[in-house]
């Protein structure tokens, strides 16, 4: 069974040594006699304040951990039969409570570097959006997705231009993905009981519904939505959507033509890199379409420790299939349609609107930052990470910071 193979691969490997635990009340003299009888001479006593354990292990047949009633018998990988015989001798000693193989152990994942607070989400802290003086005011930001729940309390009083490209459906978001992404890109500032989660809270929001109420969409509708965003003069177009690609697959000329047109027209299209990787199993899937187009910025997802997310696709196809930049994409808090109101989600779909919002902040900070200039500013100001460019591109996208006084 494939699952059994995977589970076997994940099981910890034995070192070849043994861990012996003595019964309570067995004195140290009795412990030492037991170890000497079983393993022969070469017994060492380890105390944390006195000795170097690795060196002691290397030269001893057994190491007794002082005051614990536990001993380590370092094994030799090539002496498995000897270790088995040793285990049998110890099992027959009534002073021994338990004897187990010793396993290699590894550190757990890095502790999170960022966390949500009552004031703002971790993504806004990590990208510096919360410190930026820019708000996105005066910049048109377009989200192409499942529409929006404009009746959500957090969108009240907000000017939103919306259009549906899905036949027979209005712009109302009944799936939730679009409202969540729009919230991350341009949601409102903090209010009582709800942290700020929108990167560019004063951007002028355009919403193109290109995915239907089930979350599915056709290329034709998506392409039409992209053209609409460009023609509306949106400085940023956020596309948290896509399909998987095969390694080495060439990009779609249709998406590329619109990406290039956008850059020429002063728009920047950012797209989710995709979620098909299973990195803990060694699988890195290629960036999906349309993010694999050379003129569309591909966004990877990071977790709260600024490690690449388990699922985030990587740049393994050259000629456009590279990851360009990375942003928070795990445990992302944002709004969803009524009555639920809020939800935490993960995915490159959540990373993409972070970058879109940051692009709007940059565009608001300098009217010259449009199209290719905006692309360059985002990648050149990104925080480099100690991770392969294949996975995170230029690094963690950043907001424009106030000048140092």
């Amino acid at each position: 069974m494939p699952d059994d193979v995977i589970l076997d691969a994940l099981r910890p490997e034995p070192t070849g040594g043994l861990i012996v635990t003595f019964k309570p009340g067995v004195d140290t003299g009795r412990q030492e006699r037991c170890l000497t009888d079983a393993a022969g001479s070469g017994l060492a006593r380890y105390s944390a304040s006195e000795a170097d354990l690795p060196a002691m292990r290397a030269r001893s047949r057994a190491v007794r951990l002082a005051e614990t009633g536990i001993a380590i018998l370092p094994g030799l990988p090539e002496a498995a039969q000897e270790t088995a015989a040793l285990r049998d001798r110890l099992l027959n000693d009534e002073a021994v409570a338990e004897i187990r193989p010793e396993f290699w152990m590894f550190a757990q994942d890095t502790a999170p570097a960022f966390a949500d607070t009552a004031e703002l989400t971790w993504g806004l802290a990590a990208t510096g959006a919360a410190l930026s003086q820019a708000t996105g005011a005066g910049v048109r930001l377009c989200v192409l997705d499942t529409g929006i729940d404009a009746g959500h309390p957090d969108w009240q009083g907000r000017q939103i231009t919306a259009r549906s490209f899905v036949e027979g459906e209005g712009v109302q978001d009944r799936q939730g993905h679009g409202t969540h992404c729009a919230g991350t890109a341009a949601g409102r500032p903090a209010r009582e009981g709800v942290p700020r989660y929108g990167v560019a809270p004063e951007a002028e929001l355009f919403v193109g519904k290109v995915l239907n109420d089930s979350g599915a969409g056709q290329e034709g509708d998506i392409l039409a939505g992209m053209l609409w965003g460009i023609e509306e003069g949106c400085a940023v177009i956020s596309m948290s959507l896509g399909r998987s690609t095969r390694p080495g697959e060439s990009y779609s000329l249709a998406y590329e033509r619109l990406g290039a047109l956008a850059l020429e027209a002063g728009s920047l299209i950012v797209a989710a890199a995709g979620n098909e990787s299973s990195r803990s199993f060694g699988l890195i899937a290629p960036v999906g379409a349309p993010a694999d187009s050379p003129s569309i910025m591909a966004v990877a997802a990071l977790d709260q420790a600024l490690a690449v997310a388990e699922f985030s696709c990587g740049g393994i196809t050259a000629g456009g299939g590279e990851v360009d930049i990375a942003a928070p994409g795990v445990g992302v808090f944002s709004c969803v349609p009524r009555p639920e109101l809020y939800k935490k989600l993960r995915g490159t779909s959540m990373a993409c609107p972070h970058v879109a919002g940051l692009a709007a902040l940059w565009a608001a900070s300098d009217p010259a930052l449009r199209g290719r200039a905006l692309w360059h500013m985002l990648t050149s100001s990104a925080l480099p990470l100690p991770l392969p460019a294949r996975d995170v591109g230029a690094g963690l996208a950043q907001a424009p910071r106030p000048p140092l006084s």
Binding site: T146, Q175, G176, H177, H180, L211, S214, G215, A216, G217, Q218, E219, G220, D221, I222, L223, A224, L227, S240, L241, G242, R243, S252, L253, A254, R257, L258, L261, N275, A289, A301, A309, F311, V336, K343, K344, L345, R346, G347, T348, S349, M350
Partner: protein
């Protein structure tokens, strides 16, 4: 032969004569559902064999099956 949806991209040259290109594509049997003449992109449907025919038209830079995009159910457990 299976009926499929397709995405067709015109060459840069054909962009200057978009209606002529559209007529040529319709003439080979493609039913056009959406046309973006500003960027020379069409979507439509027809028999799968038409893709090969389209690729040999001078007006066509790329002809591919139209892909669909599909999101997973909205859940914190599944990457979006």
């Amino acid at each position: 032969m299976a009926e499929i949806s397709m995405t067709i991209v015109l060459t840069q040259t054909a962009l200057s004569r978009p209606e002529e290109a559209r007529a040529r594509i319709e003439a080979v049997g493609v039913r056009i559902s959406r046309y973006l003449p500003e960027v020379g992109i069409l979507t439509g449907s027809g028999e799968e064999r038409l893709l090969e025919t389209l690729r040999h038209l001078g007006e066509v830079a790329q002809a591919r099956p139209e892909h669909r995009v599909s999101l997973p159910p909205l859940s914190g457990r599944r990457p979006q």
